[in-house]
């Protein structure tokens, strides 16, 4: 019957020594993690309770599919080989250990043959993955995405050495007497033939086997020792991070305690601190970062690694680990969060760091002006709040009276009320509402900023004050539905205000227009004959998964003339105005909005539609920054395009 003697040829003294060293290495891992956990526990508790069952299910699906990692096809396949090869060999080793230590005898007959084949295939997969990783590290390091870390190269070679030595051990064992059933270990059998060919077969193979076994065991123990101090710790921490609820991209959590002093570890969530250790340094976050693309001093990976460096050396101020300019370059577009293969919430960390800077007044003057204006005048534009209805000149706009019940509240937003381009969108929306004879109200000067820019700039206290004020206003008017054209207001109302208090139903205008088109209330004919593309606002697409509604509206307007930019939907590229950037100006090689304008240019579209007043402003700015002869296209909100269609009928 096909089977083999487990741990054949290994003297008990060697075996006990290996057991002892293995136990010590595991103790070292436990000690490191316990010590590190003390630092993680300085953070506030995670607001989301982790359900172990749901977490494990999430992890299992993630590991089986490798969906996030496979966005980079090469890296995806590489990690798939590494992961499944490693898991297969881990299972094989565990089965061997169980059979030996518990004196069971289940690896026999067909089970043994399948086991042998599976273990060999696992070794092949692991070796393939390691080869791909080493090759990629050699080539990709040239263009700078991967950090040239010696420790990473060392562990890759170490794992390769473990894999190869494993096959050599197997080959030496088989080379002693070549049992025919061992052909089910194809690589091991081939290795045995090689061992025999160099004259180490038969009885000579016995001492060779022992020597290789000791080498293999020593390498494995070395692997254990390196787990906590290299990126191998992502095996545990990355798995935990993935098992935790990912949360909606762009959703910020309240700090555990009010931030009144400079930033320190207590202002982070425990999960944030743990995730700093889970980082793979793969650079996918930095690769998709619009600020990095524009040459600004932000690398999302550097922020995470800065936090990790502070965990390593808590005596060094966190402000020295993460540069101020880097923090104020972030557009809070959440592309990095979505790209991270281990689910690290990078924007949350950046905003937490910003909170600490704001608390001690170390932030750009332009941001301070926007915050001061928001606090004093209830809008970041610094205009008198009483002038919120100036956009309405010539239009009959119903303003909610004190205490009047409002079924549909049209929330204009600060950009819609004060920015010239935003006002055009607001006027378009009012024209549509009037055309459809829909009963609605605006709040006029009772409207205040949602606090979204303040929150993303790190002014949590102001955000909360404004959220409470606005919620009181909604309650006073018994608002049933809020309609807004600003994705930032939409996101704040839909996802962040409910933490403060109950909220009515919230609709982005693209969703509302789609509903009106679907129920036939709004009837437009395809009108835009020229090529048209759509820029997904980050807080509509990426943060709220709403990619279809604006496209459905545009398809009614443009027929088949719509084309997509290379980066669209959840992978859309930021316009450069989010995260308070519209009030900041950290210099880079170029501007984020200019890069996005080149994306529009590449489509050959004559019209770029969007669904965000901030994106509209930034795309116009980007168009102005293009070279002469380019930028022969216009920027319009979808509401403006609907009005154009209505007026032409």
């Amino acid at each position: 019957m096909p089977q083999r003697e487990i741990l054949w040829n290994v003297p008990p003294v060697v075996l006990y020594l290996v057991y002892l060293l293995s136990a010590l290495s595991v103790a070292w891992i436990v000690w490191w993690f316990v010590r590190r956990a003390r630092l993680w526990r300085l953070g506030g508790p995670a607001p989301d309770q982790v359900s172990w069952r749901a977490g494990l299910a999430r992890l299992a699906v993630y590991l089986a599919m490798h969906r996030t990692i496979r966005r980079d096809r090469y890296a995806g396949w590489m990690h798939l080989f590494l992961f499944w090869g490693f898991v297969t060999l881990l299972i094989a080793t565990t089965l061997v250990g169980i059979q030996h230590d518990f004196h069971l005898n289940f690896l026999t007959g067909t089970t043994y043959l399948v086991f042998s084949l599976g273990a060999d295939l696992g070794g092949v997969a692991l070796g393939t993955g390691l080869g791909m990783a080493l090759w990629r590290r050699r080539s990709a390091a040239a263009h700078g995405r991967l950090l040239p870390m010696a420790s990473t190269t060392v562990i890759l070679w170490l794992l390769l050495a473990i894999t190869v030595s494993g096959f050599l051990v197997e080959g030496a064992r088989i080379a002693r007497d070549f049992p025919p059933f061992e052909r089910w270990s194809p690589i091991g059998y081939a290795t045995a033939l090689g061992v025999d060919a160099v004259g180490l077969g038969g009885s000579t193979a016995v001492p060779v086997h022992l020597g290789l076994w000791i080498l293999h065991a020593a390498l494995v123990i070395g692997f254990f020792v390196l787990i906590p101090v290299t990126l191998l710790k992502h095996i545990l921490l990355g798995a935990y991070s993935v098992a935790c609820p990912a949360g909606r991209p762009g959703l910020l959590h309240e700090p555990a305690q009010a931030v009144t002093t400079g930033v320190d570890l207590r202002q982070f969530r425990r999960l944030d601190l743990l995730q700093a250790d889970a980082c793979l340094t793969c650079g996918l976050c930095t690769q998709v970062c619009p600020a990095e693309a524009a040459g600004k001093p932000l690398s999302p990976r550097a922020v995470v690694l800065g936090l990790r460096a502070h965990l390593d050396h808590p005596e060094t101020a966190l402000t020295r680990q993460v540069a101020n300019d880097a923090l104020w370059s972030c557009t809070a577009c959440n592309a990095c969060d979505l790209a991270c293969p281990v689910n690290i919430h990078i924007v949350e960390k950046i905003v937490t760091l910003r909170r600490g800077r704001v608390a001690v007044g170390e932030f750009p003057d332009s941001a301070a002006e926007a915050l001061e204006a928001t606090a004093q005048k209830f809008n970041p534009f610094g205009a008198a709040n009483s002038s919120r209805l100036e956009w309405a000149g010539g239009l009959a706009v119903p303003v909610a009276r004190d205490g009047e019940a409002v079924d549909l509240l049209y929330w204009v937003g600060c950009a819609g009320a004060f920015d010239p381009a935003g006002r055009e969108v607001t006027r378009a929306m009012v024209k549509i509402l009037t055309h459809l004879r829909i009963s609605y109200r605006v709040l006029g000067c009772a409207e205040r900023c949602t606090g979204d820019p303040a929150r993303r700039l790190g002014e949590e206290g102001l955000w909360k004050e404004l959220a409470q004020d606005n919620q009181q206003t909604f309650a006073a008017h018994h608002v049933q539905t809020i309609l807004t054209q600003c994705p930032h207001c939409f996101h704040a109302f839909k996802n962040e205000y409910p933490v403060v208090g109950p909220m009515p139903r919230v609709l982005h205008h693209s969703q509302w227009l789609r509903e009106r088109l679907a129920d036939g209330t709004l009837q437009v004919r395809a009108q835009v004959a020229e090529k048209l593309t759509f820029h997904d606002p980050c807080y509509l697409g990426r943060a709220n998964d709403e990619m279809e509604a604006p496209r459905a509206v545009l398809d009614r307007l443009s027929g088949t003339a719509r084309v997509e930019m290379a980066q669209h939907g959840r992978q859309s590229f930021c316009c450069g105005g989010g995260g308070g950037q519209i009030w900041l100006d950290v210099r880079g090689r170029t501007r984020v909005e200019t890069i996005r304008a080149t994306h529009v240019e590449q489509t050959g579209a004559r019209t770029v539609a969007t669904g965000c007043p901030f994106c509209r402003v930034m795309l116009e700015a980007g168009r102005a920054g293009l070279d002469a002869g380019q930028g022969n296209w216009r920027v319009r909100d979808i509401a403006e395009l609907v009005v154009e269609a209505l007026e032409s009928q």
Partner: protein, 275 residues
């Protein structure tokens, strides 16, 4: 060594708003949706300047009622205590006399205030400087930059105690996070009702070494009793104050020089690449 700094803070009507006067009460009102009062940026900047002095213990005070928010902001920014001073009459001279009497026993080293600074300095015989920025204190001397006309600056020093007023041309009032303001909501604000009889003008402190505010090189004015010299002293200068240095760059005279100066200004503020 502790430096005791007293800083005046106050609330003021937001000058950027459209403010009307209510006919019945005569009180100012803002348009619906606007916040009429704001914390004075000059007072906030003064608190920031005081807190930046090494070893400073800052006391924020507000003359008269209705300035609680300004005092809260000062506390949130880091002032050790906040005091509301209530004089018997709302009159600049009476307020100055009351403030001087209140400050006298408190060992004040530096007073940063608005227009009251000159009056208080005159009563207490302190140095008085106005239009200052970039304050620093070393060895009992205050050193600061004084804003002159057309963007020029000069470095001035004064022996402490001194009463100063900051420049208003480019105020950089530090933003105070709302969480900090909320955190000091329960902190006490002291209230002092200061009784003061109006001091005869002759009792005002001797205003010596008064000098023209914007012209370098002139001799200090003699201990004159003329009204104009005393007024100049009130505006900037006074006891124990002198000019140390003035930036070497001469004022631009020709359009070309003015253009060069403008380009230098843009380059200094890193605005050139964006042009």
């Amino acid at each position: 060594m502790t430096l005791r700094v007293f800083v005046q803070v106050w609330c003021e009507i937001d000058p950027t708003l459209n403010v009307r006067i209510q006919r019945e009460s005569g009180s100012p009102i803002a348009e619906p949706g606007d916040r009429l009062w704001r914390v004075s940026p000059l007072g906030s900047a003064a608190v920031g300047a005081a807190l930046s002095l090494p070893g400073a213990t800052v006391t924020a005070f507000a003359p008269g009622p209705g300035h609680a928010e300004a005092l809260r902001h000062a506390q949130a920014a880091g002032a050790a205590s906040a005091v509301e001073l209530l004089a018997e009459r709302e009159d600049a001279e009476v307020s100055a006399a009351a403030l001087a009497e209140w400050l006298r026993p408190r060992g004040c080293d530096l007073l940063i205030a608005d227009r009251l600074a000159g009056r208080v300095a005159a009563r207490l015989g302190w140095a008085h400087l106005a239009g200052l920025d970039n304050l620093s204190v070393a060895a009992g001397m205050l050193r600061a930059e004084r804003f002159l006309g057309r963007g020029e600056r000069e470095v001035v020093t004064a022996r402490l105690p001194a009463a100063v007023r900051l420049q208003q041309e480019s105020i950089r009032a530090p933003y105070v996070a709302r969480a900090r303001v909320q955190a000091v909501a329960g902190h006490p604000i002291e209230r002092h009702i200061v009784a003061s009889e109006e001091t005869p003008r002759s009792a005002a402190g001797p205003l010596q070494a008064a000098r023209a505010r914007t012209r370098l090189g002139k001799m200090p004015a003699p201990a004159s009793t003329s009204a104009s010299a005393r007024l100049q002293a009130l505006m900037g200068g006074g006891n124990n104050a002198r000019i140390v240095a003035k930036p070497a760059a001469p004022a631009a005279a020709t359009p070309e020089q003015m253009a060069e100066e403008f380009v230098r200004y843009l380059a200094h503020h890193q605005l050139l690449p964006s042009l």
